[in-house]
């Protein structure tokens, strides 16, 4: 691949990526979330989303010939197999059926004469044999007749890989975080199997966050950051610590504006053994204190549970454990209670949870304040009727439109018509309008451009400094957290991996994020 570049809606996610792979070579692709790994693989695999969003730049060569896949089918024909992060298996089918799907062996039956090829019967013994062979290649034991839905996740992953290698033409196999769902021993088997495959001449691109595996398995490693190749190096002689710093380490230019040491006065929020059942962001056991008046950062890789913490405390997903707010126990699973207690939440899911897309801006900003605190309401008939005060709503909205510089036609404009950055400001305004003592901000800069990012961060900082609002900020972007927070907790696999001051070195953060900071006894406990 030469000079690959890609823009999503004017947002550059990949720039000038070069990559060469020999037959039988294994390449480890690493990078933070959003570094462009998945996009790169999508381009390689000809995913329709790439074409729909304006195609890509650069050229790809396979066996010396230039290729340009229009669809995943073309890519499959071209000899590229892909194992996705999410399973693409049919739960109600057996292993064999899944592996052989659409490549079944068939037998002749008289019905073919009448209705054509589609009515050939399946040659199940032959299929079973073939599937068993593919599984054997991997060196694992998976029952070829077991239904996918009854399998442990590890076996599903093997089934998926078996399906890809069963194709005779496969020359290049892409595995997108195949070990994320596997246990250590299963991962070890997989690594061995992949090694075997590579020896038979198949090139492999291996994406993983577990750096140790990458070092064990790969011949060379490519580090992506912000859509650019940061480092290409042979694995021999490389250390985990080095990779971690390549991944996260960017030069820190803007030091905090006020470097005055801020002392923790008293804990305003205490979280004890919190668990949250949020799909994809499960929190298992988290305990921490937030001090009054600080900006507390929560970081970590996607899917490790950092978002679950805020959603759980705000009552949006089922949660348990103990949360103490200003010395009193906070009732969990009660969004109204949390808001009433003086907390507010800017959701990471801006369009799904954060906004009423079809309603005007003033509704979006004033709604929560109205419902929770009874603002923008007029009492009629001695309080019997709570009448909505449109004038008050508009003026409240206008106040924040001016304060945050929300670009819009008027406060009556519908939220869906705003750009991402302005929508995010509306979300912030909604939270500010409640006048919270504690503000949770989840991924405040996701999907907005650099200028808007700075504005959003400045606004958060301002609120903290001038209004004394305690802020808990959750973000995948470590640099962002380091630039604004006082202390940063890193969450890994639903547990707190560690807590560092914002001035700690980048490598330390990187190690915590990748789970390498855990002591051996903790690692054993997780598995």
């Amino acid at each position: 691949m030469e000079h690959i570049g890609k823009e999503y809606f004017g947002n550059r996610v990949l720039a000038d990526v070069n990559l060469t792979l020999q037959r039988g070579e294994i390449l480890g692709l690493v990078g933070e979330n959003g570094a462009g790994k998945t996009t790169l693989m999508k381009i390689l695999f000809g995913m329709p989303v790439i074409k729909e969003t304006g195609g890509y730049e650069g050229k790809m060569y396979l066996d010396g010939k230039e290729v340009n896949f229009d669809s995943p089918f073309d890519a499959l024909d071209g000899g590229i197999g892909m194992v996705h992060q999410e399973f693409s298996l049919i739960p109600g089918f057996s292993t064999t059926e899944n592996i052989m799907l659409n490549r079944e062996f068939t037998c002749y039956s008289p019905l073919v004469e009448l209705f054509g090829e589609r009515l050939q019967t399946l040659n199940r013994p032959a299929m079973r044999q073939r599937a068993a062979k593919a599984i054997d290649t991997l060196g694992v034991r998976v029952d070829p007749d077991m239904l996918i839905q009854e399998m442990p996740v590890g076996h599903r992953q093997f089934t998926e890989i078996a399906r890809e290698i069963d194709r005779e033409s496969t020359k290049l196999l892409v595995l997108d975080e195949p070990t994320a769902v596997l246990t250590e021993s299963e991962a070890a088997i997989l690594v061995k199997a992949l090694r075997k495959l590579a020896d038979s001449g198949i090139a492999i691109i291996f994406i993983s966050h577990r750096l140790q595996e990458i070092l064990d398995l790969c011949d060379k490693i490519l580090v992506l950051r912000d859509g650019m190749v940061i480092k290409e190096a042979p694995t021999k002689g490389t250390e985990i610590r080095q990779i971690a710093s390549w991944m996260v380490g960017r030069t820190v230019e803007d030091k905090k504006q006020d470097d005055a040491v801020r002392v923790c006065l008293e804990p305003i929020l205490r979280v004890d053994h919190l668990w949250v059942d949020m799909p994809g962001e499960t929190v298992r056991d988290v305990s921490f204190d937030v001090c009054r008046g600080e900006i507390f950062g929560i970081g970590g890789l996607a899917g490790q549970g950092k978002l679950g913490i805020a959603n759980g405390i705000m009552g949006l997903f089922a949660a348990g454990g103990a949360v103490t707010w200003k010395g009193k126990a906070l009732k969990l699973n009660d969004p109204h209670g949390a808001l009433e207690a003086g907390m507010a939440f800017v959701s990471e899911d801006r369009r799904g949870v954060g906004l009423l897309l079809d309603e005007p801006i003033d509704w979006n900003i004033a709604f929560t304040a109205m419902q929770v605190q009874g603002r923008c309401l007029k009492s009629l008939l001695g309080g019997l009727i709570q009448w909505r005060d449109d004038v008050a709503m508009a003026s409240l909205a206008q106040e924040y439109i001016d304060a945050l510089g929300i670009k819009c036609v008027s406060s009556r404009q519908r939220a869906v018509e705003l750009s991402g950055g302005n929508q995010q400001k509306v979300c912030l305004a909604k939270a500010f309008a409640v006048g919270p003592e504690l503000l949770f901000v989840a991924e405040p800069t996701r999907g907005i451009d650099v200028g808007a990012k700075k504005l959003v961060l400045d606004t958060i900082r301002e609120t903290n400094r001038h209004k004394g609002t305690t802020v808990v900020m959750i973000s995948s972007e470590l640099e962002e957290l380091r630039s604004i927070c006082d202390r940063i907790a890193i969450v890994d696999e639903g547990r707190l991996a560690g807590m560092l001051s914002a001035t700690a070195s980048v490598e330390d953060f990187g190690l915590l994020m990748l789970g390498a900071g855990k002591g051996p006894e903790v690692a054993a406990g997780v598995r």
Partner: protein
């Protein structure tokens, strides 16, 4: 051309087509020896008759429960109220308001249960609502036979038990609302009372959606996740909207009956929901947003077609096309609305 296109976009294609068709019907009416004044008057009467039932759909649409295909539930509550009023032999306005008043608690109870069901089937409300409506009608077919009503007006002449299929209200409160302050100019009759009543109901609904709770309901319909994150009890709001819809349905049918002259029991309420739904959609509402403007415009257009096609088309073509056109328009409109995603601008 651009202006025309902009107009069509603003008004919505179906409204333009049906509106044009209606104008055409009025234009050719004189050719078929039909009085235009009379036709307009008929259209208005039917519009006022059906208006409250169309209005009854609005709360559920606004709260995100979809179109209330379970309207027969409210209608049954209204029928119960009307029957009790006749049974107790209360006449005039007293009888009418007694019927409405008694039907409301029934409607509230039915609506509450109906709301609980709909909260369990989020995402499939409309299909489940259809079945709730149908099955309640069937259940009531048994009830109409067994309920111990005794008024000779409404029980079968033979046997002496069980309610008739249609019960006349002519001796009690026929046209009491229609004729209130009504006037007649030549062939043109205007049912002032019904329109005042419709306006009053519209005012109540408008007012409701401007209260705190009404605002919360709109937000639930617009984005339930947002509402929940703002501390709103989504299920409670949905239940309230269903209760409200059912209660309005009950009042709607009583208004309808006093103008129509009969209570239609047994399978009468079966298909009552469809014309109301079609009218609302014709008015430009979508599955999750409806305004009072949609209600008024939609009811006028739909009832206009229903009034004009039998007289005009039949006398011009000498065939009974009206029923077919009515079915194509009403069911076609529902299908159209369910397939499209964007709503018209106002």
């Amino acid at each position: 051309m651009k202006k025309i296109r902009a107009f069509i976009e603003a008004a919505g294609l179906p409204r333009v087509i049906i509106g044009g068709f209606l104008v055409l019907l009025f234009a050719v009416a004189p050719l078929a020896q039909i009085s235009v004044a009379r036709s307009v008057s008929d259209t208005l009467v039917r519009m006022a008759m059906n208006g409250v039932m169309v209005l009854a759909l609005v709360p559920m649409v606004q709260s995100g429960c979809g179109l209330n295909f379970g309207l027969p539930l409210g209608i049954i509550a209204g029928l119960l109220g009307a029957l009790l009023s006749i049974e107790l032999d209360i006449t005039g306005f007293a009888g009418l308001f007694f019927a409405m008043g008694v039907s409301l608690p029934f409607a509230a109870i039915f609506g509450y249960g109906y709301g609980l069901i709909l909260n369990k089937v989020k995402g499939d409300e409309m299909m489940i609502a259809t079945y709730v409506g149908f099955s309640s009608v069937s259940l009531m077919c048994i009830a109409w036979q067994l309920l111990p009503f005794t008024s000779p007006i409404m029980i079968w002449g033979y046997g002496g038990s069980g309610l008739r299929v249609t019960v006349s209200v002519s001796e009690h409160w026929l046209h009491v609302l229609s004729d209130f302050l009504s006037f007649q100019i030549g062939n043109f009759y205007f049912p002032t009372g019904m329109f005042l009543f419709l306006a009053f109901m519209c005012f109540l609904v408008w007012g409701f959606f401007r209260t705190k709770i009404g605002t919360a309901m709109t937000a639930v319909g617009s984005n339930p996740e947002f509402a929940r994150a703002s501390g709103i009890d989504v299920d409670k709001m949905r239940t309230i909207s269903v209760v409200l819809s059912t209660m309005l349905g009950a009042i709607g049918i009583v208004v309808y009956q006093q103008s129509f002259g009969f209570l239609q029991l047994y399978t009468g309420p079966f298909y009552m929901a469809f014309p109301a739904v079609a009218a609302l959609l014709l008015g430009g509402a979508s599955v999750n947003k409806a305004t009072l403007f949609n209600v008024i415009v939609g009811t006028f257009l739909y009832q206009g077609i229903c009034t004009m096609t039998p007289s005009v088309i039949n006398s011009l073509l000498q065939t009974d096309m009206s029923e077919m056109i009515r079915l194509i328009v009403s069911n076609g409109m529902i299908i159209y609305a369910l397939t499209r995603k964007v709503q018209v601008k106002r």
